[in-house]
């Protein structure tokens, strides 16, 4: 892979996703064509063999997910990409990856649903599916980019987290980000931090080797198939050897560990971006973070994905007019950024409100409500007509609420 210079490249979101995946070390992709994600497969069909990687278009999305898990067990960083209907089909095997702790990344370029819906139109209706789409209590990591550059960065994050936590990670894009073209400056490959899955300390054939004995971080080191460890992987509840078990208490122990390994890293995992006045960054500006009760009339907008761009423009415009507005952009959707939402509630307490803007009927708004626990009012503005919410709409929603 040629090292990219620090000069701008005009990239589409899906292209950034494909390139980021290669940079992250993805060397296996299995997919099935579906709008609006297909470019990711097309680009990786070209890029992967250039770096000695493998691409395959399988017979359906179920098979794609299965092949990705297989390749990951065989030691390759592996990814698939799809959209709503395909994401639905992949769910059973995503659950398998969660249970068997097989690293893999699933890109879901959201389009308007339900069902076949509006295949070429954007939506954000898969937030809950990304979290709870497969049956049973399973862990998952979900990240949501708002720009082409961030797509590149977050696909790398997803691969990294998936590898170190041995958990499926979902890059939840939307059609706008996927098909938008932006000038981006990609980092040099050497400047990108790459994480690998933890490897076993014990050599193959060691009598003490247990394939599913967790490390201190609750993540079991992962042996690669074909290296002589000769271990068993199953979607059944299993013991530390990987053998099926039927004992309820052991099963509960396993499920709790699967969650704990993600929860332990919650602080690093949950990324957000604040925009308040001129300030923009992962943390609130100094002084505001502790600020309480100064929020009379303040609106804190919560948004993510393409909608966050509209929200940012709306907020900057209103701030320039002297309005007290702030934007909390969610980058990580799961684990849900509860703490940031509580900070937002602090900003809005005492007469302000949180306005959640999203292209669905309130999937994140209800999570925000849960997180803020009544500290401030939470209002939702959404559309599900396949149209991106505009800055003007958001501004009107903010100002209209003031009774103008």
């Amino acid at each position: 892979m040629p090292r990219r210079a620090d000069r701008p490249a005009l990239l589409q979101g899906n292209e950034a996703c494909a390139r980021g995946a290669v940079t992250a070390g993805v060397r296996f992709f299995a997919g099935y064509p579906i709008t609006p994600s297909s470019e990711i497969a097309e680009i990786l069909a070209r890029l992967l063999p250039q770096v000695g990687g493998k691409f395959i278009q399988m017979e359906d999305e179920i098979a794609s997910m299965a092949a990705v898990i297989g390749a990951s067990l065989a030691g390759r960083k592996a990814m698939t990409a799809t959209s709503g209907p395909g994401f639905s089909l992949k769910q059973e095997n995503i659950g398998y990856a969660a249970m068997a702790e097989v690293p893999c990344v699933i890109v879901n370029v959201q389009r308007a649903g339900p069902s076949t819906g509006l295949p070429t139109s954007p939506a954000q209706g898969d937030v809950m599916q990304a979290r709870w789409g497969t049956h049973g209590d399973h862990p998952v990591v979900v990240m949501c980019p708002s720009s082409v550059k961030e797509t590149y960065d977050l696909v790398i994050e997803c691969v990294n987290w998936s590898e170190v936590l041995r958990v499926p990670a979902v890059l939840l894009m939307d059609e706008v980000v996927a098909h938008m073209r932006e000038n981006v400056i990609l980092p040099r490959d050497d400047d990108v931090v790459i994480w690998d899955r933890p490897a076993p300390d014990l050599p193959p054939g060691h009598p003490d080797f247990l394939a599913y004995r967790p490390g201190p971080d609750d993540v079991p080191p992962m042996a690669r198939f074909g290296d002589g460890y000769r271990y068993h992987v199953t979607g059944l509840h299993h013991d530390e050897r990987g053998y099926p078990l039927h004992q309820g208490s052991k099963a509960e122990e396993l499920v709790r560990r699967l969650h704990r390994k993600v929860e332990r890293r919650r602080r690093e995992l949950t990324k957000v971006e604040w925009t308040v006045g001129e300030h923009s960054g992962p943390a609130l500006p100094e002084g505001l973070a502790e600020g309480r009760g100064r929020g009379a009339g303040r609106t804190v907008v919560v948004a993510y994905g393409a909608v966050a761009r509209s929200a940012e423009e709306a907020c900057r415009g209103l701030a320039a007019e002297g309005r007290d507005v702030a934007l909390l952009r969610l980058v990580t959707l799961w684990p849900f950024p509860d703490e940031a939402c509580r900070l937002a509630a602090g900003l809005a307490a005492g007469g302000g409100e949180i306005l959640v803007v999203e292209m669905n009927l309130g999937q994140v708004a209800r999570e925000v409500e849960r997180a803020v626990g009544g500290r401030c009012p939470v209002r939702h503005y959404g559309r599900v007509d396949g149209e991106l919410i505009t800055p003007a709409e958001i501004a009107a929603e903010i100002t209209g609420q003031r009774g103008s």
Partner: protein, 291 residues
Amino acid sequence: MVAPEDGSGRTDVLSYLRVDRFPHLWCPGCGHGIVLGALVRAIMRLELDPRRVVVVSGIGCAARAAGYLNFDGVHTTHGRAIAFASGIKLARPELEVIVITGDGDLAAIGGNHFVHACRRNMGITVVCFNNSIYGMTSGQYSPMTPYHAMATTAPYGHIERPFDLCALAAGCGATYVARGAAYFPARLADYIAGGLRHKGFAFIEAVTQCPTYFGRRNKMPRGVDLLRWQKERAVPVERAARMTPEELEGKFTVGVFRDAEELEYTEEYDRIIALAGYREGGESGCPAPGR
């Protein structure tokens, strides 16, 4: 593997199995253990490096065989074993990838993966433990349940016709296709060994018996009855060629139906990698995890 001193092969067979999990979960008289034994004997005969063998299975009674084999193994989701196996094989073509599947797992829920794997000709060996029924879920009809047989979901008799799995595989392009039966374990091991030796996609149907959920409902309540049925109905493919359709009524053919040399998928893909300008060889992009 060290050759057993008594020459019986016994020591070796068990050394390939996770005997700490025995007795296995299969019912008395179930043929799956016989087929598993044939598979192990085929692997032994070819002296495959056990560290390089990966067994992939789906869901069902047969699928549990993966857990009894002392190799790297994945017990996957229902119907998807071949798709998982395709990922493993394409990622690491040097591995010997064996799929163990049942007739429902393979031909119903996994049918789509099966036909496409036949077409792709990736070097995977699929052994289908065909017992004509869904055993794990206690006796519902499968795509291999014979016409007019009884099943819990066919209480008045089954009105669908079963697949001819070998004809299906060959028709879809599988380059090695064979059928054996549990009653003939030595020949079954021969067919499986042939599939393992074969470079492309190999499919071996092993006709086996489920006394508990198929036999009891169909007047053959013991494994012994069903094995006798196999003995009486099996016709070698060479002899079948000289028989009329009437003579073959109610019989099934055994033998190797196809053994053709065609380009194998992962080798084709290596050509793609070269075309794309990638120069280094070996397992690039897939470094061994650091220790």
